[in-house]
Structures are given as structure tokens and as C-alpha cells.
């Protein structure tokens, strides 16, 4: 069930567009922010609010890499491995995440603390390698730095 707040927020978003379906992506963000992911029930509810068919909502939400259709850990590590980050050592960072936290791409730690997603370029190539943890940018990563940074996310 969507919270009253989420329904209200979607209603406000709806006013920014001349057409209901245009509010679909922002509405999905509202739900994802609240629940951490997009469950089939949540997709159905969003569709009902915006009057968009269920299959269309699912088709749209699964097109976009940043919408999640499974629950994830408390913190989402989005590590870039595209070219600039690769030549600056993102592979060794992936190894550290595996050794230290048992984290594999698209996996979650046993304690539900971290999930890991490998990203295409996140626009921090000048300070590569880089990652987003939840909505925070961290760059100039080294094996030591990444561990220190992650220690702050409990």
C-alpha cells in the first residue's frame, strides 16, 4: 500500500504535466524512495492513480536501469566501471567489495547492509574511479578510501 503522503505527492507531481502518463517516472521515484523498490502491487497502484494500464507501467519501469524490482539492502553502492574508471582501477575496487563484504554485482550482503550495482559512466570521470552510495558521490577512490567511506554507512 502506498502511504497517504506518497499518494499526495503523486497528485502534486501530476500538476506539472499536461498529460497523466508524463508523471509516471517521477511517481515511480516517489514510491521507490518510500519502499526502497517497486513491488508488483506498488506498480499496480501507481497505474491506477495515473490511469495507465498495468502492463504499460511494468513495461516502462523495467526499461530503466535505476528502477528496482527486487528489495535491496539499506545502502546502495553504485560503482562505475566504464572506461575512465576502469583505467583508474575500478576493477580492484570490485575485488575489495567481494573480499571484504562478499559483495558481487547485483548482490546484497547477508546482513542486508549493502547492495551493489555496477554502473555505466556516472559523470565523475575527472575524479575516477567513482561511485554513488545512495545519493552521495564519492570519487578518487582507492582500496583504502572505499573501505573507510563505506564504514560510515551502517
Amino acid at each position: 500500500m502506498l502511504s497517504e503522503n506518497a499518494v499526495k505527492e503523486i497528485g502534486l507531481i501530476r500538476n506539472k504535466y499536461h498529460d497523466a502518463q508524463s508523471s509516471l517516472l517521477p511517481a515511480l521515484y516517489v514510491v521507490q524512495k518510500e519502499h526502497g523498490w517497486l513491488s508488483p502491487e506498488a506498480l499496480k497502484e501507481v497505474g491506477e492513480i495515473l490511469n495507465v494500464p498495468k502492463a504499460e507501467v511494468k513495461g516502462v519501469s523495467t526499461f530503466y536501469a535505476m528502477f528496482r524490482h527486487r528489495p535491496i539492502g539499506r545502502h546502495l553502492i553504485q560503482l562505475c566501471t566504464n572506461v575512465a574508471c576502469m583505467i583508474m582501477g575500478s576493477e580492484s575496487l570490485l575485488n575489495i567489495l567481494k573480499e571484504r563484504y562478499g559483495l558481487e554485482p547485483n548482490g546484497t550482503t547477508g546482513d542486508g547492509r549493502f547492495s551493489l550495482v555496477v554502473m555505466e559512466c556516472i559523470g565523475a570521470c575527472g575524479t575516477a574511479p567513482a561511485m554513488l552510495v545512495d545519493t552521495d558521490f564519492h570519487d578518487n577512490l582507492t582500496e583504502e578510501r572505499i573501505v573507510n567511506i563505506l564504514e560510515k554507512y551502517k
Binding site: K16, H18, D19, A20, Q21, S22, S23, L24, L25, P26, L28, Y29, L50, V52, G59, V60, F63, Y64, A65, M66, F67, Q78, T81, N82, V83, A84, M86, I87, M88, M119, E120, C121, I122, G123, A124, C125, G126, T127, A128, L132, T135, D136, F137
Partner: protein
Amino acid sequence: MEKFLLRNIENPNSTDINEYIKAGGYKALLKAVEMKPADIVSEVRKSGLRGRGGAGFPTGMKWAFASADPKKPRYMLCNADEGEPGTFKDRPILEKNPHLLIEGMIISGYALEAEYGYIYIRGEYPAAKDILDAAIKQAHEKGYLGDNVSGKGVRFHLYVHQGAGAYICGEETALIESLEGKRGQPRIKPPFPVNEGFLSKPTIINNVETLANIPYIIEIGADAYAEIGSPDCPGPKLYSVSGHVKRPGVYELPMGITLREIIYDHCGGIRGDKKLKAVIPGGISTPILPADAIDCPMDFVNMPKHGSMLGSGAVMVFDETVDLVKVCYRAIKFFEHESCGKCTPCREGVGWMRAILERISGGSGTAEDIDLLIEVSNNITGKTFCPLGDGAAMVVQNFVKNFRSEFEEKIH
């Protein structure tokens, strides 16, 4: 060169509207609303400004097409999807100078009689989204946005729309699909967005940096603007430099500066004083250049004469230690991941190229693999629905053309 696009960004409060105004901001808007919309369009045309999103299309021409279509409402869209790997030039404007973009959009909206604007920003820039939202709120409070812009009876409403991790949504028609709440797959052109874009209405799409140039053109006038940079391609340009230079980052320099000047004069040369091996000059989709080809003027008109393209101005620098076959493989893996699946040559062909490159890069390639790779790429070229697939084929062709021996060395 005096900075305009990055003016004031060292100020820790640069996102605050009062600081922006103190530094001369919103003056161009006040000047613009005293002009006739059509005169702004011709001023932009006269300036010679070309779109900074990658293709270098003359902005004034695009605007004139949109103005000629009588359908209303019109929409003004800002492309802040910045997904081309290597590119991070729009980010400082979005995060540190949001009012410059907003001012550029209001002027553009006024010039094109568009009353609604949307900034389509990539999902990977969450901080920038919040900064823009806050800046838009301030601009409303100051009366620069809303139903009576600067008390002149002009309407302009501006919203931020967040993408969700799809490179293809940077392509303008896919962006429109995505803004309409659909899967981000490109549309057939024509009709062009200027005639039938968002919700089938005339829609003008420009890149962040393009729009950020508009206040400057109004401020100093088209003639003075046209004096900056290259004759056929004027203006200041943001170059985002990454890889093995001593000082990577975003640089505001005139159009037409050479790659050599960017790398050696501005970025301090190669890290650890190693040898330069190769440069990708304009984002991952643009042809890679060998080290001896860097005396090329970086603008939209001259780069094609030197074997590459300006693209997004994202300079990626590789020193002698880099395994370019691996870089090529990683680049194509990106295109495979981002292919929207609409047309077969791209959806299937790019996957085949990735598989062959994976084999070669991993040391299990065969003697025929390089030719097979080129054959597959030739079967993609010219047969795809949008430039993404073509771009991927071109990447492979240029890596092999310029660095074939590196591929051969991997085959035993």
C-alpha cells in the same frame, strides 16, 4: 580567456540567486524581455552558436524552424541527460551555476513563445536535481518564473524531470518518449521535434551548455560572441578531461583550441611523464586518435577533417600503459547494455561485437576474429534506427583502423 559558463563557481554560495545576481546574473533576461522574440531568434542565429549536445546543429536554425510552426503550446526542453561516457561538462553548470541554465531557459522560452519548460536530468545526478529544484523555487520568488516574468506579462513555468538510468534517453526523441512516461525508445524522424515533439506539440530541445550560452549572447551581442573561438564554430566551450593527465577536470576554453593545448598546456601533460598513446576527443562514441594526431582544432567543423568529432568535448587521455583492446571491449559492452532493443542490427550486432571483443581481449581470439569483427560492424553501419548503433560500429572500426597491431598481438 574570461570565463562565462563557469563564472562565479568558485564562490561557495554560487547556487544562491542573490550571489548570482550580484555577479551580473539575470541582467540578460531583463534585457531580453525588452526585445521582440523574433529578434532574439535572429540574434542567436547571427551568433553562430552550435548545439553543445554532440551534433553541433546550429541553434538559431533549430529555433527558426520551431518559430515557424504555428501550433501551440510549444515546449522548451533542456537535455541534461549527460550520459556519454567521459562527459561531465554539464555537471558544474547544474550543480554550481543552476541560475545560468535557468536564465538561459527563460530567455529561450520567451524567444520561442514556449510557456513550459522541462529540464530532463539523468537519474545519476541526484544532488543536481535538488539544487535545480531549489534554484527554480528562488527564481519563482524573485518573479523571474511564473505567470508574469519580470512584470512583463510573460509566462514561463519550469520543471525538473528525472531520468532513470538509460543512455538512450539523451537522444532527443527518446528523451521525449521518456518525458511522456514511456520506454525511452527513439522515434522516427521526420516529424522532427520542432514540429511534433512532446505531446505532439512543437518542442525545442537543447543541451545544458547550449542554453547556458544564451545569456552570454544577449549580454555581449551576437557580433562580439561570434568573435570568440573558431569562425564557423564560435563561442566558449566546456571540455571535460579525464584519464592520464596531471590535472583532469572541466575547462572553459575557446572553441577550436587544439587537443595538444588542452592536454599539455591546460591539463599539465601526461601523469608520471609517461608517453601519450591515444585520445578519445569527444566522448566514447567519437573516433579514437593516435598520439600523433592531437594538433587538431577542437570544434564541430574541423574535427571531422582530422579523423574524429568534437562530440560532447569529453577528452579521454590514455598513456602508454593502457590496453586499448580492453578499452574497446569495455566501450562496446556499454553500447550493448544501452541498446534500446528497437532495431535488430544494433540489438544483435552490438552484442556480437562485444562477444568477439571479449574473446580477443581475453586471449582466446582466433586469426579470423579481427576481420569478423569488422564485418559485423560493417553490417551495422547505416542500418540502425538511431545513431547509437552506428556509433558503436564506428568505435570498433576506428580502434581497429588506428591500433590494429594491438588487436593482433592478443591473438596467438
